[in-house]
């Protein structure tokens, strides 16, 4: 499915990501979630090929969706594997290392996001 899912709690930032992805990958449908719970539901409903994931959000962090998808794949409950680009203000090397070791995490990007790098990563992962 040609879907991209953006999970980000700040509306302005979400809109910015959306218009950027639309510009780079106009043939993709873009779905937006303002919290991780919506993001999980949209992920299962729309099977996005790529997820832009903010890690730090209120109530539940981005870790929850990674945990769920990894558990589903590990136990062969789900068969699709979305690529996840984590966008996060990483503070320690340990944090960065533990994220990059996760099964579905394709890239970890700093926040605020350098858009030129995002363009390269989207082009690479969406095979544009």
């Amino acid at each position: 499915m040609n879907n991209v899912l953006i999970i980000e709690d700040e509306a302005v930032t979400r809109m910015m990501y959306k218009s950027y992805v639309q510009k780079i990958a106009p043939e993709y449908d873009i779905f937006e979630a303002s919290n991780i719970l919506q993001g999980i539901c949209l992920c299962f409903d729309r099977h996005p090929q790529l997820i832009l994931l903010d890690m730090i959000m209120p109530t539940y962090s981005g870790k929850l969706i990674i945990d769920i998808l990894e558990e589903g794949i590990k136990h062969k409950i789900i068969s699709y594997k979305p690529k996840i680009i984590v966008i996060s203000a990483i503070e320690t090397v340990e944090e960065l290392t533990s994220l990059t070791q996760r099964l579905l995490v394709s890239s970890v990007m700093p926040k605020p996001l350098p858009f030129d790098t995002l363009a390269e990563i989207l082009t690479l992962h969406l095979k544009l």
Binding site: N35, L37, Q38, I40, C41, L42, F44, D45, T59, Y60, L64, D67, I68, L69, E71, G72, H75, I77, I78
Partner: protein
């Protein structure tokens, strides 16, 4: 609800309890499909993949507990991403009355049963729902 096309999902980390639930449901409804999950994360994956009609949900589990499971379904319905409403029976060791009452008010939760599960309680609930 029709007995034959019925799907149960058991979300419980204790293998022995899961087996007891499974055997009990299997005896009551031999033509039903019974899906098992060891934690809330597996449970939510099964929920979206199989859309079970009735869910037996433990609250305290590793990786992801019952609270997050209920939060996901609640938010999915609130934001109109999900349109199906399962019947959830929470089976829990929680003893605090206030906590039990607040679980009972959650979206899709039809009953809260204390552990150890009294099978007659479960049977009478199911008989009301399944023809």
């Amino acid at each position: 609800m029709n007995k034959k096309k019925f799907r149960f999902l058991i979300v419980e980390d204790d293998e022995m309890i899961r087996l007891i639930h499974k055997d009990f449901l299997g005896e009551l409804y031999p033509d039903s499909e019974i899906i098992e999950a060891e934690n809330g994360a597996q449970g939510i994956c099964h929920y979206f993949e199989s859309h079970p009609h009735i869910i037996l949900l433990d609250m305290m589990m590793p990786i992801m507990g019952g609270e997050a499971f209920l939060d996901i379904l609640e938010e999915g319905h609130r934001s109109k991403i999900l349109n199906k409403k399962p019947k959830i029976i929470v089976v829990t060791a929680i003893k605090d009355v206030k906590e039990l009452m607040s679980i009972g008010k959650r979206f899709a939760v039809e009953a809260v049963i204390s552990k150890p599960l009294v099978q007659n309680q479960l049977k009478s609930l199911l008989e009301d729902w399944i023809s």
